[in-house]
């Protein structure tokens, strides 16, 4: 299983084949030349949004995450990162503007200094990453937002393991609602995921199946990616800053 999480740093962005799911991980702690290179790809609006962050690091991490997303999308589209145009769904989910006439779907998530970026060709996708913190007391959240089955599963675990499993469960659930494109408006209690299975199929209310894969982005982090349909080939890729 560990072998499948060999994140390969590559210089050129590959083409996304129909059945491929590209999962990129990236560190978001960049400063100096790379930070300004990424910042230059942002639109005025994105820069304004960045300036509104009031917490240290949050601003820079937002800039870096958005810059990396633009660079990756630019590479997939064969465009300059600054020329990538994004639109937003009613729930705030960004997607490629229709002008690009591209089938690429993507999703982004970041937690502290780690970011995950996933891309498919033509299928809805959602990703989530969280830092595992034993002191987070996730059970407070679980008791309000997890389904009965999930709570029963967590109850069988020792408290410490349950805290860790909580993050596994949460990331799978959030990746699912992100893939559905409706943000958090799908009640999290209305569906159940298994937090022991690394790969699983989650049916939606119309019986359509969504594939859910657990991710190990880095030590101390957990993540999940969900995409519409089945039999995805996952590629784990690492974004590097490249030539400065």
């Amino acid at each position: 299983m560990v072998a499948s999480f060999a994140w390969s740093p590559i210089a050129t962005v590959p083409v996304v084949a129909e059945s491929e799911l590209h999962v990129w991980r990236a560190s978001l702690d960049w400063s100096g030349a790379i930070l300004s290179r990424l910042e230059n790809t942002l639109t005025t609006q994105e820069k304004k949004r960045a300036e509104r962050f009031l917490v240290p690091h949050a601003r820079d991490r937002f800039v870096v995450a958005r810059g990396i997303l633009r660079e990756l999308l630019g590479a997939y589209l064969g465009l300059d990162a600054a020329k990538v145009m994004l639109s937003y769904g009613p729930r705030g989910k960004p997607f490629l503007s229709a002008e690009h006439n591209s089938r690429i779907c993507f999703s982004v998530s970041h937690s502290r200094e780690m970011g995950l970026f996933v891309f498919t060709s033509g299928q809805e996708v959602g990703v989530d990453i969280e830092q595992i913190k034993a002191s987070f007391r996730g059970m407070e959240i679980a008791s309000h937002f997890f389904s009965e089955e999930e709570m029963a599963g967590l109850a069988k675990l020792a408290p410490k393991l349950a805290e860790e499993a909580f993050f596994g469960c949460w990331t799978r659930k959030e990746a699912y609602v992100k893939a559905r494109g409706q943000g958090l408006s799908i009640p999290l209690r209305s569906f159940t995921v298994s937090f022991t299975e690394r790969e699983q199929l989650v049916p939606d209310e119309e019986g359509m199946l969504w594939s859910c894969y657990a991710l190990e982005p880095a030590a101390g982090f957990t993540g999940a990616v969900v995409a519409a349909g089945q039999n995805w080939k996952l590629k784990y890729l690492e974004w590097t800053a490249g030539p400065q």
Binding site: F53, V55, A58, G92, S111, A155, P159, L184
Partner: protein, 564 residues
């Protein structure tokens, strides 16, 4: 009486402000346009009339200059404008009058302009008065000349006033009946209310939300307009925020609502909407169809979740917990009366008008009793008080000696049974919250305080430090000192079948003498602690519900008799 404004500010003096009435007067056409505005102020700390006066005059000055309408009043702009800056100030001390007389006095004062037929030309542009009605309560009455009234933004003036006071101001439902109710245009009043809801700067829900936000985001200070996500909030923290709002305020906001309303201010409005909706639905439809009145259960401890769940399936149910943040702000947290005042306020925020039903276990039962008494004193109807295993503290103190030793041992045994039942439930999905780590902490705290109860061998031990940080400790300390006063109204005492020796064995727990025929006693399976645990909880919930139903039927019959 006089408090320096700076001192008052540092002491955190607060004003609760309400524009209680804004109505057209009857009478001639001109006076119909007169808009008397009544503002109800509750001051925490002594009232500083000088400060209120200067704050109000600042507003009045701005108004008369801004409206520019004084010229039209008597054709002499300059002199009238000057007058406008020095609107005669009236201050009336009504504290000596009985409550009813004070209200009549205010009513008469409000109606003078309209009723005495003074011609519009001769009315002063505006007048206002400060009426002192209590040590920490006053009313401000403000009436405007029709010509000015048209140009004045009442809401803005009130906001300016609040700012000029330099106090933290929160909106609250003022106790007591509204003035001149029959004269109100209901539609306009509703519109005025809605307007207030959005424009007055701060209220208690907002304060509570800010405290929750600060705890969840681990950052201080959070302002009402700060964006959750810009403060570093993310989805997990959003989930925690909503979980805590549900636990503290009893309102389940959808997670997605944070995207639409990512600020404290937005969320406050959303809370009002959610609460308002439930009030409208329950008040309009449900109450008429089934005759059910809302039950307020005091004691938000998670171990009561099974009971809460069952009761909420049976009727409209509100659970109210005590929070240290609120208790710490009370004038006297060691007084049960004072804690009950806070509960009354919370209840009336949720449901401004009765009839109410109240319930509580052990010391919370005493709190329910005192709360019911205070609600009645405010003219509200309380249909039923349910006390679960609640002892009359005065009578209990008279019991002592060797019986206590046996009672202590028995209570310990009962607590063990409670813990056993509790642990068994940990595996059940119905009580999934118990699995939560935080619950185990709460349980540990509760056990600790229960053990203290046992050590003291009293139902309500007096503690050396009621500010220890645990709201239960504060409540128990207050309960030990409490002297229940006479109360007219239905009270049901629910007793456990497995009782301890000593005072715990006395069926009425010392209430018969005080309550007489109003007291009903009903027994249920389990001991002091296990009555609300599985497998006893279903029986308890149904017994409670049937007591409440009987009380509702009685009320309905009594009302029918009155109508006939």
């Amino acid at each position: 009486m006089k408090v320096q404004s700076d001192v008052a500010t540092t002491l955190g003096t607060k004003l609760a402000l309400e524009e209680a009435a804004s109505a057209h007067h009857g009478g001639n056409a001109a006076s119909r346009m007169q808009r008397p505005v009544q503002i109800h102020l509750l001051v925490e700390g002594e009232i500083d009339a000088t400060l209120l006066r200067s704050a109000w005059q600042t507003v009045a000055e701005n108004l008369s200059v801004a409206s520019g309408s004084s010229q039209r009043v008597n054709g002499n702009g300059n002199s009238e404008r000057r007058k406008g800056r020095q609107v005669p100030w009236q201050e009336h001390d009504l504290r000596g009058l009985p409550h009813g007389d004070a209200r009549k006095w205010i009513r008469a004062f409000l109606e003078t302009d309209g009723q005495q037929g003074i011609s519009a030309q001769r009315l002063p542009p505006m007048r206002y008065a400060l009426l002192l009605t209590g040590k920490q309560e006053c009313e401000m009455v403000w009436s405007l000349h029709p010509a000015i009234g048209e140009h004045v933004d009442v809401q803005q003036a009130i906001t300016d006033f609040v700012t000029a006071c330099q106090f933290e101001v929160r909106v609250s439902e003022a106790p007591g009946e509204p003035l001149a109710e029959t004269k109100w245009d209901a539609g306009e009043h509703a519109a005025m209310k809605a307007e207030q809801d959005t424009s007055v700067p701060a209220d208690s829900a907002e304060e509570e939300l800010i405290a929750i936000w600060e705890a969840v985001l681990n950052t201080k200070p959070v302002r009402a307009d700060d964006d959750f996500f810009e403060l570093g909030g993310h989805s997990l923290l959003a989930a925690r925020l909503m979980a805590r709002i549900e636990d503290s305020l009893g309102v389940e906001l959808p997670l997605a609502s944070l995207l639409e309303a990512p600020t404290v201010r937005g969320q406050t409005q959303l809370l009002r909407k959610f609460r308002g909706n439930s009030c409208a639905e329950d008040g309009g439809g449900r109450e008429q169809v089934t005759g059910q009145f809302p039950l307020f259960f005091l004691g938000g401890d998670p171990t009561f979740r099974p009971l809460s769940q069952r009761l909420s399936e049976l009727r409209e149910f509100h659970s109210l917990g005590l929070r240290m943040s609120v208790l710490a702000k009370l004038k006297d947290p060691s007084s049960l009366e004072c804690i009950a005042e806070q509960v009354v306020q919370s209840i009336r925020e949720r449901r401004p008008q009765g009839p109410y039903m109240l319930a509580g276990w052990c010391a919370h039962g005493l709190l329910a009793f005192e709360t019911a008494r205070q609600l009645q004193a405010q003219g509200q109807e309380v249909t039923q008080v349910l006390m679960l295993e609640t002892a009359n503290p005065v009578r209990m103190k008279q019991y002592s000696g060797w019986k206590r030793t046996i009672a202590r041992a028995q209570l310990k045994l009962h607590l063990l049974k409670f813990e056993y039942a509790y642990l068994q439930q940990l595996n059940s999905t119905q009580t999934r919250d118990y699995i939560a780590g935080r619950t185990s902490q709460k349980l540990a705290r509760m056990k600790q305080s229960l053990r203290r109860v046992l050590r003291a061998s009293k139902f309500y031990p007096e503690l050396a430090d009621p500010t220890s940080g645990n709201p239960l400790d504060v409540l128990y300390a207050a309960a030990a000192k409490y002297h229940p006063k006479a109360y007219r109204g239905g009270v049901t005492l629910i007793r456990s079948l497995e009782r301890t020796f000593g005072f715990g064995h006395v069926l009425d727990l010392g209430w018969s003498e005080l309550l007489g025929d109003d007291l009903k006693i009903c027994e249920t399976a389990g001991n002091h602690y296990t009555i609300y645990m599985q497998p006893n909880v279903d029986g308890l919930a149904h017994k409670m519900d049937s007591c409440l139903r009987k009380a509702e039927e009685q009320t309905a019959r009594a009302r029918a008799r009155v109508r006939r």
